[in-house]
């Protein structure tokens, strides 16, 4: 009896340990494959040049258009998400502080909103674009991605704001501050680490998402100058180049994938680092 139990214990410890370590292995495997394949074709041209004539037949050039397009869209979307999302998160934690039930319901709905897939946002962005009489453009892409990342922004920021002790903002109100002043001067400062995390998370999500910009941002070899011009994005650049029958172009898809991976790694690790740094300077 006891021996059987010990064997069972051993087996399940091994299985669960294996499951945990396999995740590290998978991550290393993915990144290693992308880098090994990508670094072959990676050159300075890739990140400093737009596609030149004959690029899609293996000619000269790079994916600067897509890098810049992705940055534009992601920055624009994050800015909109901040303008819409940050006040909403503050409202949830300042004005609604006494309404515990409502607070919980709102968080529940936000979580559910986070679950909507980006292809749905993309499709909606497309109908919205037609409704407003717009063409596939930088602006349409920005709006669609903004819709996608706003729930992320609100919920991530809120997660940190909700841990701020209640006494702190009661004290601020008692000193005669308005609720707005409390929100922006006290809570915003205290929750700054959450704000940074929220921005970087939204930004990372925006830069990597393909399904939402597929319909709305269009694609071009040029770097967009105006909001109503179409814009290329890095995920779509990878996707399109990968569909090419020409080996050189496919190689460049891998190089582009390596570029995107590096950007994402910098963002996620940076978010972790900054969140740690700023949460240290908080008063507890």
């Amino acid at each position: 009896m006891n021996r059987l139990k010990q064997i069972e214990e051993k087996i399940f410890r091994i299985i669960s340990g294996f499951a945990a370590y396999s995740l590290i292995a998978i991550l290393i495997y993915i990144i290693a494959i992308i880098f090994i394949k990508g670094f072959n074709a990676l050159s300075l041209d890739m990140i400093t040049k737009t596609p030149q004539g004959g690029y899609y037949y293996g000619g000269e050039g790079g994916v600067l258009n897509a890098i810049v397009g992705s940055l534009y869209i992601s920055i624009g979307a994050t800015v909109i998400a901040v303008i819409i999302g940050a006040p909403a998160a503050l409202y949830l934690n300042v004005h609604m502080i006494k309404l515990k039930r409502t607070q919980n319901t709102v968080r529940y709905l936000l979580d559910a909103l986070w679950g909507i897939p980006s292809i749905v946002y993309g499709s909606f962005g497309f109908t919205l674009m037609l409704f407003l009489g717009m063409n596939a453009s930088l602006l349409a892409g920005i709006i669609t991605v903004a819709l996608l990342v706003t729930p992320i922004m609100v919920r991530t920021f809120d997660e940190v704001l909700s841990t701020i002790p209640k006494g702190l903002h009661e004290a601020s109100l008692a000193l005669g501050s308005t609720r707005t002043e409390t929100a922006y001067k006290v809570l915003f400062k205290q929750g700054f680490s959450g704000f940074i995390t929220a921005i970087l998370l939204s930004f990372g999500r925006g830069i990597g998402d393909a399904a939402s910009v597929l319909f709305t941002a269009g694609y071009t070899d040029l770097i967009p100058v105006n909001l109503d011009e179409p814009a290329a994005t890095l995920p779509l650049a990878i996707f399109f180049q990968l569909g090419s029958p020409i080996p050189e172009v496919r190689e460049r898809a891998f190089a582009s994938a390596a570029i995107l991976t590096i950007i994402i790694l910098i963002i996620s690790l940076g978010a972790r680092f900054l969140a740690k740094k700023y949460s240290k300077s908080n008063l507890k």
Binding site: K5, Q6, E8, E9, F12, R13, I15, S16, G17, F18, A19, I24, I26, L27, I33, K37, I84, G85, P87, A88, Y91, L92, N104, Y108, D111, A112, L113, G115, I116, P117, I119, V120, Y121, G122, S123, F124, F126, T127, L147, P151, T178, R179, A183, Y184, L201, G204, G208, A210, P235, I238, L242, F254, A257, T261, I264, L265, I267, S268, L269, R272
Partner: protein
């Protein structure tokens, strides 16, 4: 109070309420928007017909979505079968057995896995999983496969869902009080027995919810699946054949959707379908999670 401060407070308060209400109404607005675009489709077909029919020939105006829904379900089920046990055991290891140091290492690992874009998983799938399926797995099962298959889609999707489900499971297991585990141990349970009898049982609703949300996530995932799944309507139930999930249908045909009448309506209907299914799953299981967290 100073007049200007009061005005600022009013305006900002108004803006805060507006943003909050807009965000919360978002699913409704999206739903209505998609519905309006999909509407022409309903004039000729009932919703039930659209969902259950297998006849897909856009040029003849026939839109039967069943093959795509089935494709989505098929890929999702496969991904769930791969991901669920790994997540469950990894979460058990990280919350019950492992050292603090491994947990410290794992958080950034999960973060990065969750943060990698869909398209990167797709590239990895094409480089690794597709050849693996065609050269190695399919021969084992005595079939031939190009590799671009339901099976490959399932594997890639499962890797994408793992960080998402794992995060939720870790949270769920961490809410089980240590005292409860100590109680089982003090009665003579081995560590694994305390996990099996107490931790898992206590977290049951949470585990189901995490699984449910993982399924919802897999169901709506687009680009990565589309890159490895083959994108042709399933002709058999062989998982080594290509499939055509719903999100891939939408993403793959955006180019031609304005050239065939009603095609755009059909694709928007597909998006609406995804929205309704995924939102429903999310609302149900998030409700469980929120309920258990309050306890």
């Amino acid at each position: 109070m100073h007049f200007r401060r009061r005005i600022v407070d009013k305006i900002s308060g108004f803006w805060m309420v507006t943003t909050m209400v807009t965000i919360l109404l978002m699913p409704v607005i999206i739903g209505v928007g998609l519905y309006i675009k999909a509407q022409p489709l309903f004039e000729h077909n009932s919703v039930w017909d659209l969902i259950s029919s297998s006849d897909w020939s856009p040029s003849k105006g026939k839109f039967g979505f069943w093959p795509f829904i089935a494709g989505s379900l098929y890929v999702t089920i496969f991904s769930f079968l791969f991901a669920a046990p790994i997540c469950l055991f990894a979460a058990i290891h990280l919350t019950q057995f492992s050292s603090k140091r491994l947990v410290q290492i794992m958080y950034p690992v999960i973060d990065v896995l969750a943060g990698l874009p869909s398209v990167i998983y797709g590239v990895w799938g094409i480089l690794v999983i597709v050849p693996l399926v065609s050269n190695f797995l399919a021969p084992i099962f005595n079939t031939s496969s190009s590799g671009y298959s339901i099976f490959a889609g399932g594997i890639v999707l499962s890797v994408m869902c793992i960080p998402y489900m794992l995060n939720m499971l870790i949270e769920v297991f961490n809410t089980v009080p240590v005292g409860l585990k100590e109680a089982a141990l003090s009665l003579g349970a081995t560590q694994w027995e305390s996990v099996k009898h107490v931790v898992i049982r206590k977290s049951y609703p949470g585990i189901i919810s995490a699984f449910g949300l993982g399924i919802a996530k897999a169901f709506g995932e687009t680009i990565a699946v589309m890159m490895v799944v083959g994108n042709s309507v399933m002709s058999s139930h062989n998982p080594f054949d290509a499939g055509y999930p719903l999100p891939a249908l939408i993403a793959n045909n955006y180019g031609e959707m304005m050239s065939i009448p009603m095609y755009d309506s059909a694709l928007m209907f597909a998006a609406l379908l995804l929205l309704v299914i995924i939102l429903a799953i999310n609302l149900v299981f998030r409700y469980f999670i929120h309920k258990t967290q309050k306890q």
